[in-house]
């Protein structure tokens, strides 16, 4: 009987695996629900409820399912449950519908085989659904939980019935959630945890105090500055890794005027020289050393090393060169600089506020007066959606697919609500070549040709300074020495890799 207690920053907003495509939820629920496949310690796709998968015909994928799997309530798992989970995930109220954007329909072949028919070839489909979790149709129907919608009293938001390694024992939202090991799990358990308690602790200092005073075994994340302290405390260790999330600056590309500026009637950011000037003004090494305490990688791309399509030669940054920056501004017609509205979240990314402050100071040194406005993330997105910024800070992680095309679809393609493309491209960066390349990249099966197109996009991206990539955010977890666990680069934490000694 090994107890494991851990603390994180926030609580999963729902126990429904389709309700929110948010890391916190998916990571947590991955302990309760299984998907068709799962990612290993190195992010590689591994069989889970699907034993194998392969393209079927030209436009589809076939999944052969594992037999003898039962849900926590004892019901057995069949292809029908997969079909149900697909319907549910694409249905009303689901937040994970975009994972299936390429799917036309699904067909149950037999009890343990299912086909997903795509609208056009989609080589990445298995990657894209790596975080998709399977629910039991009978249980959902019996409890009126056939949709993931939020507003009705939805049973599935507080109750679970997965096939995963842990069962939900009790849950008090925002206070504590207790899981117990599922003895009937289909896989042999690597973990030795019989009971696991999760507590969300919002305040950094309190969270780290909880670890250091032995009240929890593991916390995620810890503030960067406390790494040394934890390592030095004795009995604790920090697990550091590189997350797949890239932090960047976004800029207004389309509007003809800035929101808050001493230059009116023009949008300097439309001038690529100005965007380059911003790029050159940023001393990323200093930010990494002082704000990120040396625990981040400088980024030249919107994807991190290890992502599909990443190439080192494109990952170089424009050098820090304030003089060049001033020169570029002068060339663009702003020898005295200009001012702009710089928006920044203060509780979304690691040290986001401090990063923005540092950037503001650096921009000030070349003459750009950024009016920095920091705000809690829940109010941040609406502002970005309302186009209420001149420059903003964004972090992007290529989700389950870990593919270079992911940020292209969301961040680089011209916004197109119809096709659900460019939906996070708040600055409305637009480049015809990229727009034509993105669909091709998405459906291209040949790896070489695909990489060429990706490189082409990355080239344009950098020439145009569509975004100013900053760094790849680190993952900093801390645990007590008596537990072993695995940090996955997507910041998912899996209980089934935990051993308590």
């Amino acid at each position: 009987a090994e107890e494991f207690r851990w603390a994180g920053q926030g609580d999963p907003s729902s126990m429904d695996p389709h309700a929110a495509a948010v890391g916190t939820n998916l990571s947590f629920l991955g302990n309760i629900y299984d998907g068709l496949m799962r990612r290993g310690r190195d992010m590689s796709l591994q069989p889970s409820l699907a034993l194998s998968w392969a393209p079927v015909g030209s436009d589809g994928w076939r999944f052969n399912l594992r037999q003898g799997v039962t849900f926590h309530d004892g019901a057995s798992f069949t292809a029908d449950d997969v079909l149900f989970s697909f319907e549910r995930a694409t249905g009303e109220g689901s937040d994970v519908g975009t994972w299936f954007a390429s799917i036309d329909h699904a067909e149950v072949v037999d009890d343990f085989t299912i086909d997903f028919i795509t609208k056009q070839p989609n080589p990445l489909f298995p990657n894209e659904i790596a975080n998709w979790m399977i629910m039991d149709r009978d249980w959902a129907e019996a409890n009126g939980a056939t949709s993931a919608s939020k507003e009705e009293p939805n049973f599935s938001r507080f109750n679970t019935n997965g096939t995963g390694p842990f069962k939900l024992e009790s849950r008090q939202a925002d206070v504590r959630t207790v899981l117990v090991a599922n003895d009937g799990w289909w896989d042999t358990a690597e973990h030795n945890v019989t009971r696991a308690t999760y507590t969300p602790i919002g305040t950094d200092a309190t969270r780290i105090a909880a670890l250091l005073s032995g009240e929890v075994d593991f916390v995620n994340p810890i503030p960067l500055q406390d790494v040394a302290r934890v390592n030095g405390a004795g009995g604790f260790s920090v697990i550091e890794g590189v997350e797949t999330r890239v932090i960047m600056l976004g800029m207004e590309h389309q509007n003809d005027t800035l929101h808050d500026s001493n230059v009116t009637g023009v949008n300097p950011m439309k001038d690529v020289r100005v965007r380059q000037a911003v790029y050159h003004a940023i001393d990323i090494d200093s930010i990494i050393e002082n704000v990120m305490r040396g625990q981040a990688l400088p980024a030249g791309l919107l994807i991190s090393p290890g992502a599909n399509g990443f190439k080192d030669e494109f990952n170089t940054r424009l050098p820090y060169d304030p003089d060049r920056s001033r020169q570029l501004l002068a060339d663009a017609g702003y020898p005295d600089g200009f001012s702009l509205l710089f928006r920044c979240p203060n509780d979304r990314y690691i040290n986001d506020e401090a990063i923005c402050q540092a950037i503001t100071a650096m921009l000030a040194q070349v003459g750009i007066q950024a009016n920095l406005q920091t705000i809690t993330v829940s109010n941040y997105w609406p502002l970005l959606r309302e186009d209420d910024f001149d420059m903003y800070l964004l972090g992007w992680s290529p989700g389950g697919s870990l593919d270079a095309s992911h940020p292209m679809r969301f961040l680089m393609h011209t916004p197109d609500p119809e096709k659900r493309l460019g939906s996070w491209n708040f600055g409305k960066f637009s480049n015809a070549t990229i727009d034509s390349l993105v669909p091709q990249i998405v459906s291209e099966v040949d790896a070489g040709r695909r990489q060429d197109m990706i490189d082409q996009v990355h080239g344009i991206m950098r020439d145009e300074v569509a975004y100013v990539p900053l760094h790849v955010q680190p993952l900093v977890w801390a645990k007590s020495d008596n537990v072993e666990l695995t940090q996955r680069p997507d910041n998912f934490f899996n209980l089934y890799w935990v051993r308590v000694n």
């Binding site: 500055q225 302290r229 929101h259 002082n290 509205l341 100071a361 109010n379 209420d388």
Partner: protein, 308 residues
């Protein structure tokens, strides 16, 4: 003129209150400390070694410089630098300026509202009084911090967002001020009810002086004693409240930090050994509030005839 001034000064010096002040070493010390804060706040740009608002002057590589006497410290940063490479001493001086500004302005607002309401309620009595005092009751059932949080929240969502930092100061002043008027109103009302029954008020009414004139010229000066005490206490409360709001993330923005904001940011570096970033602003705040409270305390005793 100067002659009357010096005479007035001497009168104050020589009065009972002046004497009790001189006799109380604590009160003198507290007043001096408060004055130092005030002067430092008023003349912050002259006093502070650097201008912490001038972002262009910041150098990120100065970040986390410890106090000068600690190993690794630099004489450039007497009590260290914060996470942005800002001179902490300057930040504290400017932070105290913000805290005092918020404290003063909000206390003044509470004072104006409270005293007006109290005067009207106490002088008019009857229905007007009943209604005003019920409003005060309702206000009281919203503790100050809630009121401030609410107003702040509302202001932030109603105002255009790029004005947030610009208006943050005003929002703070308004919300803290609004949450503090009841004490003034109740006290003034109480004293007013006593005073309005006194015959000097009736004497004024007999010669047909207008009510508003009576309130302002006759009553107001006579209810000011306890009001001053409350004002001092409210000043301390307002400074603390501002700090608390900053801690909860709705106070002054990081670009114009108050002491509370500084503590809040610094708190993140307590465990990593960069204690000075939070401890110094914390101590600065505590000393300021303590000094103000001490002055208030002394004043309460000195002005309370029942206690001397």
């Amino acid at each position: 003129m100067t002659d009357t001034n010096t005479r007035l000064l001497y009168r104050i010096y020589d009065s009972d209150i002046g004497y009790s002040f001189r006799k109380s070493r604590i009160a003198v010390a507290a007043t001096i400390v408060t004055l130092i804060y005030f002067l430092a706040a008023i003349f912050a740009p002259l006093v502070a070694p650097t201008n912490p608002y001038d972002l262009a002057s910041l150098n990120l590589s100065d970040a986390f410089t410890p106090p000068a006497w600690v190993e690794g410290g630099s004489s450039k940063f007497l009590i260290g630098a914060d996470d942005q490479g800002r001179d902490l001493l300057s930040a504290i001086i400017f932070g105290a300026r913000m805290s005092l500004l918020v404290g003063f302005a909000s206390t003044f607002l509470a004072f104006v509202i409270g005293v007006s309401v109290g005067l009207v309620a106490g002088f008019r009595g009857g229905m007007v009084d009943a209604i005003l005092m019920r409003i005060a009751d309702i206000q009281l059932s919203f503790p100050a911090i809630l009121v401030a949080l609410l107003i702040d929240g509302v202001a932030r969502s109603v105002m255009p967002s790029d004005m947030h930092d610009t208006i943050a100061l005003w929002v703070l002043i308004f919300s803290i001020g609004i949450s503090g008027w009841v004490n003034f109103a109740r006290t003034v009302r109480g004293s007013c009810m006593v005073e309005r029954g006194k015959e000097y008020v009736q004497a004024a009414r007999v010669i047909g002086i207008k009510s508003t004139t009576i309130m302002v010229r006759h009553l107001l000066p006579n209810v000011m004693g306890p009001v001053l005490v409350i004002a001092t206490i409210q000043l301390a409360v307002a400074i603390l409240l501002e700090a608390a709001l900053s801690f909860l993330g709705v106070g002054m923005p990081l670009t114009k930090p108050s002491l509370g904001t500084l503590i809040n940011t610094g708190q993140n570096f307590l465990y990593s050994g960069e204690w000075w970033i939070t401890i110094f602003p914390g101590v600065a705040l505590a000393i300021l509030v303590l000094a103000v409270n001490l002055v208030g305390d002394w004043m309460r005793d000195a002005l309370n005839p029942k206690l001397r």
